[in-house]
Amino acid sequence: MKIIGLIITVTTGALLFYAAGDFPAWSDPASPASTYLSPHFIEKTMEETSVPNIVTAVLADYRGFDTMFETAVIFSAGVVCFFLLRISRREDEEPETRYYRHVLTGVTIQLKEGHEIPPSADFERIDSMWTPPDLIIKTGCRLLIPFVQLFALYVIAHGHHSPGGGFQGGVILGASVILFAISHDLRTAVRRMSEKLIGILCAAGVLIYAGTGALCLLLKLNFLDYSALAGVLHVDPITARSHGILIVEIGVGIAVLATMIWIYNNISSAGRYRQGL
């Protein structure tokens, strides 16, 4: 079986190498893409959309339909992770023992079979495997996370002018929350950002994107033709395309942020939402 796999892989690789010879040379000005498509984007993007970063304009405006379904793919990745991994509490071992830790004194209380302490600031619920988070890591991450999040917001908002945009910014925002979950524990992170909120955000991001497109359709222009938003935003159609890109990027950012946290929560706790990494 291994040999057959090796033969298939080598043959496919050889075919790919053979086919790659037919590609136009790197940065060849006579290649089909460089004769009419790239010049149009390079020359016209600024006057058509007033976005200096051509990549952002192509991604979110000219090829907006592609990016919408990329966002939908990310959304479905999060949902699939949830459906495959999440284990609801009822399937767990029945007599549940809960552990609570008194925050000020560090005393741990064990409660058996369904007894629980109402949520308060004095007690926090912990797992049997709980270890106190390291003070240096905890403090370091507390200092770092606000700046990471600020940078992520900058990446999303400044995507028009510099590399970046919804995907990258959303991933960095999600990474900051994951960093919080790693440096403390998963329960603390879930308390800050509940599963319900993550699910809602994940869907809301896709809804913002598709909703912007549908709004353009309602305003009697093509789907995702942001110049239709000129009347709503009270700007000229060219600036409206720039603003439309920003709205869409924010939608992408929210969806990616929620999906990254959702996948991490499900994988790191094997769907139980107890002890993370």
Partner: protein, 81 residues
């Protein structure tokens, strides 16, 4: 494009990719895969595709390594099949 840097990074990409496949330890494989992603990120930025490089650095080298490590953390040393 500076060709010695380009060549060095291309070599490192191949080395990282093959060693990520070869290595027995799953944690080591995921870390090597992260380094592969980072080398790809450098390669993209050499080719001038800064947006792709940024995505590769944040998604490939950043979050997916964390997700791999989280998944490896949930495995056991010996298989239970």
């Amino acid at each position: 494009m500076i060709w010695p840097i380009d060549l060095a990074i291309l070599t490192l990409v191949v080395v990282a990719a093959i060693s990520a496949l070869m290595v027995k330890d799953l944690l080591g494989a995921s870390v090597l895969f992260g380094s592969y992603s980072f080398m790809m990120c450098l390669l993209w930025s050499i080719m001038g595709a800064v947006d792709v490089a940024f995505t590769e650095a944040s998604v490939g080298a950043g979050v997916s390594t964390v997700l791999f490590v989280a998944a490896v953390f949930r495995t056991t040393r010996r298989t239970r099949d």
